[in-house]
Assembly symmetry: C2
Homo-oligomer: 219 residues x 2
DNA sequence: ACAAAAGTGTTTCAAATACACCCATGT
DNA sequence: ACATGGGTGTATTTGAAACACTTTTGT
């Protein structure tokens, strides 16, 4: 048997958040070749002494300042020619950032990092459009069988906030009474006892997760 | 920015089949170092001119003679130290082989290929035990929301055959009438009109998939 | 008083579950 | 005739879906 081919292994991260009642994705403008000036997913190359999850978390922090968020491996992409430099295999991740943490940073090989509305995206470098849509499909599917959507909200939120997250991602309206019945029956929320006054209407009860950061698989 | 580290990228494949009413996994005995003589998942290194799926299919055919089966990417594993040679990232796949195709071949770097009962496995090389259990979890979960189980049966099969597959993988018994009602309501099966005589009892109607090889997502 | 979002129950329908007997065949 | 797995229907329970009005606040 001959010696195996060498590759650079990268991680690319699809970072979702909710901003102004729309689903947003974090993109960086590429500072170097190839695709200089194009928008791309944040990410970068794997080092010898780190694992894949670690690499994704590190690149995300370095390039965008986003840290300590939900991060899950999505899939790997290795078609020859997906990177014009050749020999690059990418392990894609997706991340969920709470709706209130939008402070971004640009650094190292990323000229700038910006949020884009999911349904108004620019042309993307490499095969990143494919990766992005795979991530969206996964997110949408996971709403139905996990409590992953909670990661898109701050620690305290109203049931209406939560319902809005579901409605945005599923792109359909939900019945308020049925939604509340369903989510409360999951037995993962507790009332804080506090209310949030916000505008000229009745204040809403604030809730928090019983086990913050724990994703529950439903059914 | 410094130049990125180099890796060898491998695919490892968890091949499931049903034999003698048990779930079986295909393992190869390693012919070379490291872990020479240990049992491991079939798989091998990615070439420069092929995609990941292609690599998995090729390695499977080369090492075991298994070809033209259901093959799906599972996840990637890249912890430093998962391979004592260092710098090896593995993209894991899982495959499903119909219950009647068990002809195996040993070749190249695999001394021999053998089926093992899933609940009587030997010690495995590398992190292959972790990969294998991830594959099993995925298979089990996918039974509930897809018609993937059909890939474990030959083209023509009885409803009892199918029920047995579900019972083996889910490790629970199912009600015969409810199972048949459910599977027929999926509207993916058609009667062949033929019956299979097998032993001292009433012959069973044979069915086939309406769209062979098409995995339907349920719900 | 009005606008705007919060909060709250019941009825209807569909799907999942529980459950027991007769049928066709080989020996 | 008997042993073996194949084949079939109904009643019950459970969860999902449809649906409208009252409450609390700010202006």
């Amino acid at each position: 048997m001959n010696t195996p081919a060498s590759f650079n292994v990268a991680t690319d991260i699809v970072v979702f958040t909710i901003r102004a009642d729309t689903l947003n994705v974090l993109l960086i403008e590429r500072a170097g070749q190839p695709f200089k000036g194009s928008w791309a997913l944040p990410g970068g190359f794997l080092n010898n002494d780190e694992g894949l999850d670690q690499c994704a978390a590190r690149e995300l922090a370095e390039e965008t300042g986003v840290g300590d968020v939900y991060l899950e491996q999505l899939a790997s992409f290795g078609d020859p020619g997906r990177d014009p430099r050749g020999g690059v295999v990418s392990v894609a991740y997706f991340a969920l950032v709470p709706a209130d943490e939008h402070a971004l940073r640009a650094a190292s090989d990323a000229a700038s990092a910006r949020w884009f509305a999911f349904d108004d995206l620019p042309e993307l470098a490499f095969d990143h459009a494919v990766i992005l849509h795979a991530a969206h499909a996964r997110l949408k599917a996971k709403l139905d069988y996990s409590t992953i959507a909670f990661c898109l909200l701050p620690a305290e939120f109203t049931l209406s906030n939560l319902q809005t997250v579901y409605e945005i991602i599923k792109a359909e309206t939900l019945d308020k009474r049925n939604f509340r019945k369903w989510v409360l029956a999951l037995d993962v929320l507790q009332e804080t006892g506090e209310k949030r006054v916000e505008g000229a209407h009745r204040p809403a009860m604030l809730y928090r997760e019983k086990n913050p950061g724990t994703i529950k698989i439903i059914r």
